[in-house]
């Protein structure tokens, strides 16, 4: 089997694994829709007070809310990606078996997480987004190129999200218990990805800082591409640089970590 086909098979496995839990998926769709409904009204009240806040009009703000609900589980911003499983394997030592496999640890988990993310996008993302678009006034582009750009930005977001969570998971090689780090990463991600509020609403210097951090690739970047507020090519470049940097950092940490496994026997 070619190397490429191996990772495709892993990704398909990741997709099918999550597709198995149909009732849980329906439950998740319901919950995302309810939260979307609550947030939409708070955003509408906010934009009622300050029209054009952060450069969005009301319809764009509403679209942003439903995008957030659609991408929350896809990009594992609220947790629920592969990291808990990898941390558990590191803690129990099962990761040693993974390292013996004729596959690269990072690529293996990347493929599996992309499969998961793709399923979550289709299974959990589409319905809340469609509900929001039908019930509220939203700002959606009619141009298919913009949609394609949006999907590409989401894909980049998936890779950046993986890069961050892979580093978080590898910390378990040193800390053994990953609970604290995972929680810190979750808090930071929620705050800095634009899940809490669009980053262009953040005041002054704080806004400028969060916009250059890697988390802004997750929700803010795809949203701005879809809403026509950002230059797609510039956005891809920004996301791409972070993706490469994070994956490279993951490689470095991985090689340091695996040396530890050998030493520890």
């Amino acid at each position: 089997m070619g190397t490429g086909r191996l990772y495709v098979a892993v990704a398909v496995g990741g997709f099918r694994r999550y597709a198995t839990y149909r009732v849980a998926t329906v439950a998740g769709v319901f919950t995302n829709t309810v939260f979307g409904l609550i947030l939409v009204y708070t955003y509408l009240a906010l934009w009622e007070e300050r029209p054009q806040l952060g450069g969005y009009d009301q319809a764009q703000a509403v679209t942003y809310v439903w995008l957030g609900q659609a991408l929350l589980s896809t990009l594992a911003i609220g947790g629920g990606g592969f990291e808990d499983e990898l941390i558990e394997r590191i803690r129990t030592g099962d990761v040693a078996i993974d390292l013996y496999r004729p596959a690269d640890l990072q690529l293996w988990w990347l493929a599996s997480d992309l499969g998961r993310a793709l399923f979550q996008l289709l299974g959990r993302g589409v319905v809340p987004f469609a509900f929001g678009a039908l019930v509220f006034d939203v700002a959606l582009p009619s141009d298919p190129v913009t949609w394609a750009g949006f999907l590409l930005a989401v894909l980049f977001g998936m890779v950046v999200g993986f890069g961050i969570r892979y580093l978080v998971a590898l910390s378990a090689f040193w800390l053994m218990d990953g609970t604290g780090v995972v929680q810190m990463a979750w808090l930071l991600g929620f705050f800095c990805s634009g899940m809490l509020l669009p980053l262009n609403v953040f005041p002054g210097l704080l806004g400028e800082i969060v916009r250059v951090l890697p988390w802004s690739s997750l929700l803010q970047a795809p949203a701005d591409v879809l809403l026509g507020r950002a230059d797609p090519l510039g956005t891809f470049a920004f996301q791409g640089v972070w993706a490469v940097a994070l994956l490279a950092a993951g490689r470095l940490v991985q090689s340091a970590a695996t040396r530890r496994v050998v030493q520890g026997g």
Binding site: I38, G180, L187, V201
Partner: protein, 267 residues
């Protein structure tokens, strides 16, 4: 009832002893719980860095609603928040263990894995409520002062009923535990904002169908001297205890129906 409370107390005491065996871990998870629940309020503060009011309410008034909602929900979450694990117990068959023990199942499930770290949420809500009480302009009367603890307790009981009802639903749909989050976590998020922000239908729904409005919106409107949502009469501000009792009765019925329909996986 007395037997159930006794069993609940014993199991909770056991879990607290077990938590306290790892003090550092307890402190860290409590701080984490505190930080995670603070995010909601950080969002509100960020909003108020750009506006003066939201839905006609200023920051201290919203902090008042936020504090009431968070403390009421936090108490319920602390008391029986682990009930959302019921679906897992049904799935892996460990609920059977609870059925053969000589203590009420509801008490056992409610006390299961009692998480003292959830004090983090209560503390966070109480701090925001404290901030609100020092800054908000309220014309205090003895009746309003009396209404405060009544409101918090009734609110906590209403949320407890939602937890029990949600757990009863998990007997039917084991994998659907996330549905419950929409009403528990979703409910407390909703109540953190003023009713004027939301659509009429939504406000009607949480007043007459799932009576979350009685946790803080209605009694707080009385305390703040604000117009009531849906033009309801003044006396409804004092009805939360009755509503809480009614919710408990309904949740109890749902729980018994759920438990009756339980079929073990046999594994």
């Amino acid at each position: 009832m007395a037997e159930g409370l006794r069993a609940y107390g014993l199991i909770v005491a056991m879990w607290i002893r077990s938590t306290m065996a790892y003090r550092a871990s307890f402190v860290m998870t409590t701080v984490g719980n505190f930080a995670a629940t603070s995010l909601d309020f950080v969002a509100i503060l960020l909003m108020f860095s750009r506006v003066e009011a939201l839905g006609g309410y200023a920051l201290p008034e919203i902090a008042f609603l936020y504090g009431l909602s968070s403390v009421a929900f936090g108490l319920a979450d602390l008391a029986i928040g682990s009930m959302d694990r019921l679906g897992r117990r049904v799935r892996d068959g460990t609920l059977d263990t609870l059925l053969v023990r000589p203590a009420p199942v509801l008490a056992q499930v409610a006390a299961d894995r009692f998480g003292l770290r959830r004090l983090g949420r209560v503390t966070q809500g109480a701090l925001v409520l404290g901030y609100a009480l020092t800054t908000v302009d309220i014309d205090w009367t003895p009746l309003k002062v009396l209404l405060m603890p009544v409101m918090l307790l009734s609110g906590a009981v209403i949320f407890c009923a939602v937890f029990v009802g949600g757990a009863a639903f998990q007997f039917v749909a084991q994998d659907a535990s996330e549905v419950q989050n929409a009403f528990t976590y979703g409910g407390t998020t909703l109540l953190q904002y003023p009713p004027t922000v939301f659509g009429k239908e939504l406000v009607r729904g949480v007043t007459f169908v799932l009576p979350l409005a009685f946790v803080n919106w209605l009694p707080a409107s009385y305390v703040l001297g604000r117009p009531y949502p849906l033009d309801l009469p003044t006396w409804v501000a004092f009805s939360p205890p009755l509503v809480a009792v009614g919710c408990c009765a309904l949740a109890g019925m749902a729980w018994r129906a759920g438990l009756k329909s339980y079929r073990s996986t046999g594994s």
